[in-house]
């Protein structure tokens, strides 16, 4: 990052929750440390989340700008994964949960009435901590989302599959054995397959929940390179417990603690000159 860009922008403090002014006709500015002109793909406003009576997230407002990588960090149990899963309503399948506040995808509240959850999940894709390929062939895995959503004709499937596998840097390794079982791949390859599977349905946002935590360092590096490439075309939010990883791949970082958003700023600022002491304590390893 150049010196220039650092001085030009005034980072917005997360405590300044932007509320709509009664007289102003313009939509409220999403909370986040990005330039005012940046397009915010997905943002939350006052998001709170409850497991039964236990409140896991407290009033979180932040926006994720497009075509960038935003990292969520924090000690285990701080709510970062829960927050991520709110963005594509994956928490819906857990019984006895409740959401307050709004999550806006391109301006529409995904928790509002009339939202097509199935379509939402196609637009906001997810990659999980442990790779979870289906017990099918490699190409069938990638084609799964295309088939069930009816996104293309039968004849177009091979081409779409190839495109997705190329995008996740797996094509060269598997092009000779597309019809063999996906379970025969190594851990890192399986994870890239899951990424390809998510990319195949052409999502707008990609959520990644600790995608490399179960992988060895070399496979991790490949995934990180992939993420770096992907952000040219996709909006990516990644949960990670590995701070070096967050520093390596993301532009923006949000630090969560005990279900609250403590600090949200550009990655280089968070890691060199964090605004809150508690952020600094976490980053320097004093706890967590």
């Amino acid at each position: 990052m150049s010196e220039e860009t650092m001085t030009v922008i005034e980072p917005a403090s997360p405590s300044m929750v932007t509320a709509p002014e009664i007289s102003a006709p313009a939509p409220p500015r999403p909370a986040g440390p990005f330039p005012p002109g940046a397009k915010v793909r997905i943002e939350t406003r006052g998001l709170s989340f409850f497991y039964g009576t236990n409140q896991a997230l407290h009033d979180i407002s932040l926006g994720i700008p497009e075509k960038s990588v935003t990292a969520f960090i924090g000690p285990s149990g701080c709510g970062k994964s829960t927050f991520l899963r709110c963005l594509n309503r994956m928490n819906d399948i857990i019984p006895d949960t409740r959401v307050e506040g709004e999550v806006l995808l391109d301006g529409h509240d995904i928790y509002g009435p009339g939202t097509d959850v199935v379509d939402l999940r196609r637009r906001v894709g997810m990659v999980f901590q442990k790779s979870n390929p289906f017990p099918k062939s490699i190409s069938e895995n990638v084609a799964y989302g295309l088939k069930i959503n009816g996104l293309c004709r039968r004849s177009e499937l091979p081409e779409r599959v190839e495109r997705a596998l190329r995008a996740s840097a797996l094509w060269d390794e598997v092009k000779e054995r597309l019809h063999t079982s996906a379970l025969g791949l190594s851990g890192g390859q399986q994870q890239r397959l899951c990424i390809a599977r998510a990319l195949a349905v052409e999502p707008e946002v990609l959520l990644m929940d600790e995608p490399a935590s179960a992988l060895d360092p070399i496979a991790t590096q490949k995934i990180e390179e992939l993420i770096y490439d992907l952000k040219r075309d996709y909006t990516i939010a990644i949960v990670t417990h590995n701070m070096q990883q967050a520093a390596r791949v993301s532009e923006y970082t949000a630090f969560f603690m005990l279900g609250r958003l403590v600090e949200y700023d550009r990655t280089d600022k968070i890691f060199t000159n964090p605004g809150q002491k508690i952020t600094e304590d976490y980053i320097t390893g004093r706890f967590g």
Partner: protein, 323 residues
């Protein structure tokens, strides 16, 4: 002089191991004994008829001809029909109870479906004779004529016959298949369903992903039900008509291996007659052995992963490495 404590303890422990091991061995001896006894007491029939026993269709104890093909036919037909009827319902129950049911309904409904398995076979048979068979007879009488012309529905409307037997067997098999299928579905890792949901799957599509993952186990559950249907005796013999004849028709009175043994064992007045019946019992034993072993293997292949995960959860897990 008393032995030093350590060696006495070792002797005690060895005695314990041998002692309890002996009782465990009894279980193995029991099964081996069953196989041996069955063979020994059917040897006359095996030696006299050989493989023709299983190819002949005439069972005439008076004349001394013993052909067991009708019983194999009846057993396989009734068990197969029972599976066809029961599997969709059993799977539906398994899916409902493991994936769809609201929590407060889960325990009472599970209890009720398992109650089906607790009803003794003789009670099913009694109910079969006096309630089911008249119902089936009415059904058979009112079958449209064009259907009656098909071989599958041909013959006089007796009430007793393959249809009644298949229906009762289906009811008896449902709780077995459904409870094992439910165990299998519980063993499928949640991430499989989550992966499907994250790609935009509907509820049914996510369930399909889970079923596909556990398909070998579900096959095993169905096989287990099949094995159960093959060995069922009392309910079948009370409603099937006990006629050793091969027929494609559901309306026809037929016979099964277990039923003929139950019916004719005490009437067997010659040694060869008794040996023939016991030979049927031997084959029944071998068939159910193979089916049960195979189905348990299939089920185990899916549930074993879940058991591994269970133990991992108990051990202190370092889920996040220190940054």
């Amino acid at each position: 002089m008393p032995k030093p404590p350590s060696s006495r303890k070792r002797a005690d422990d060895r005695f314990f191991r041998l002692g309890t091991g002996f009782f465990a061995l009894l279980v193995v001896i029991l099964v081996a004994g069953i196989a041996w006894e069955l063979y020994r007491n059917s040897r006359l029939s095996i030696e006299k008829f050989g493989f023709n026993f299983w190819r002949t269709t005439v069972w005439d104890p008076v004349a001394g001809t013993f052909g067991a093909l009708p019983f194999i036919w009846g057993t396989l037909y009734s068990a197969f029909a029972a599976i066809v009827l029961s599997t969709p319902i059993a799977l539906g129950i398994a899916i409902f109870l493991s994936e769809l049911s609201p929590r407060f309904l889960r325990t009472p409904l599970t209890f009720l479906t398992e109650l089906l398995a607790a009803i003794p076979s003789i009670v099913y048979g009694l109910w079969g004779i006096f309630v089911l068979v008249p119902l089936v007879r009415q059904l058979e009488v009112h079958t449209p004529d064009w259907m009656k012309r098909l071989p599958l529905f041909s013959g006089p409307p007796l009430g007793v016959g393959m249809l009644a037997a298949s229906l009762i067997l289906a009811v008896m098999v449902i709780p077995f298949t459904s409870s094992v299928a439910r165990e299998v579905l519980k063993a499928v890792p949640a991430t499989q369903r989550e992966a499907a949901y994250a790609l935009g799957a509907t509820r049914w599509e996510a369930i399909q992903a889970a079923i596909r993952y556990g398909r070998t186990g579900i096959m095993g559950a169905i096989m287990l039900g099949f094995g159960r249907a093959i060995g069922e005796t009392m309910a079948v013999t009370m409603v099937i008509g006990n006629n050793p004849r091969i027929s494609v028709s559901l309306f026809a009175a037929q016979h099964t291996m277990a039923a003929v043994i139950a019916n004719e064992f005490t009437e067997a007045d010659t040694d060869i007659y008794l040996n023939a019946l016991i030979e049927i019992g031997l084959v029944l034993f071998l068939i159910t052995l193979v089916i049960n072993a195979l189905s348990r293997l299939l089920i185990w292949s899916v549930t074993r992963e879940a058991k591994v995960k269970e133990t991992k959860r108990v051990l202190p897990a370092a889920t996040e490495s220190a940054a």
